[in-house]
């Protein structure tokens, strides 16, 4: 991350803030050149990531902090989003989607993030908490159903 983000958000871990963040992100992605479908997928991925930080990382507490950073990427064009928290640390290997053929409520979030974004990386932050780095390029392969 050589240069500073175009835009950063610091928010409380409240589900009522998911909608404002999605709205901002759809507009940001559309200005970069993503079409309506792709912008919607980007907003969905971030929504799922935030929902997981709130539910799993912070166990549903609404007074903790989450940071989001947004970059427009050039050559190739696209965007990068980083989600950071001070929540419970988990081994990145353990954050994975379940078998979709087992039809049950829940367990779709990580699948949705992986299938809508081109690059997804979870890591433990040295200072505590987790970091998720998402990237999506303009004109990359369209979204596929999760395998």
């Amino acid at each position: 991350m050589s240069h500073s983000p175009d835009l950063s958000i610091q928010m409380l871990s409240r589900t009522s803030l998911l909608a404002p963040v999605r709205c901002m992100l759809v507009s940001f992605a559309e200005r970069i050149g993503f079409d309506e479908t792709a912008s919607g997928h980007i907003a969905l991925a971030v929504d799922e990531a935030l929902a997981n930080v709130i539910r799993h990382g912070y166990s549903g507490r609404d007074d903790c902090r989450v940071w989001l950073h947004f970059w427009e990427l050039h050559e190739p064009a696209g965007l990068r989003i980083v989600v950071e928290d001070y929540a419970r640390q988990v081994d990145p290997e353990l954050i994975r989607g379940r078998d979709l053929s087992d039809i049950r409520p829940g367990g779709l979030g990580v699948h949705l993030i992986r299938s809508t974004m081109d690059s997804v990386r979870f890591e433990k932050r040295r200072e505590g908490g987790m970091r998720l780095t998402l990237e999506k390029l303009l004109g990359a392969a369209p979204v596929q159903s999760a395998a």
Partner: protein, 115 residues
């Protein structure tokens, strides 16, 4: 805990069941309210539950989980669940989740009330 925001759901009686038409974006702040309202309707033992999604421009995985729960509880009672009038984003999330073939999805309320 985060406050849950209530979802406005219109309902309409059918000869053999009920249509529920939620409106607004169904995300983690709103799915608990939708889940509660679906559970309430299931107590009336409908033979057919139609969920008209025309008023739902966006749904995340917590909304999808609510639909899967509705599917499971209708199956348990031998009732039928139909989803109708999906907006493009809601259709997309069901497709990515490979649930578009698990649910019975029809074009509109008329088709859902009479198949």
């Amino acid at each position: 805990m985060s406050k849950s925001v209530s979802v406005t759901i219109q309902s309409e009686k059918l000869p053999d069941g009920v249509v529920l038409a939620p409106s607004g974006e169904i995300d983690l702040s709103r799915s608990p309210s939708m889940r509660a309202q679906v559970a309430e309707v299931m107590k009336t033992a409908p033979k057919r539950l139609v969920i008209d999604l025309s008023g739902v421009p966006y749904m995340d995985s917590s909304g999808v989980a609510t639909l899967v729960e509705a599917l499971q509880s209708t199956r348990k009672c031998g009732a039928k669940l139909l989803l109708c009038a999906l907006t493009p984003r809601v259709r997309s999330i069901l497709e990515i989740s490979r649930l578009d073939t698990v649910f019975t999805i029809v074009a509109d309320r008329a088709a859902a009330s009479s198949d």
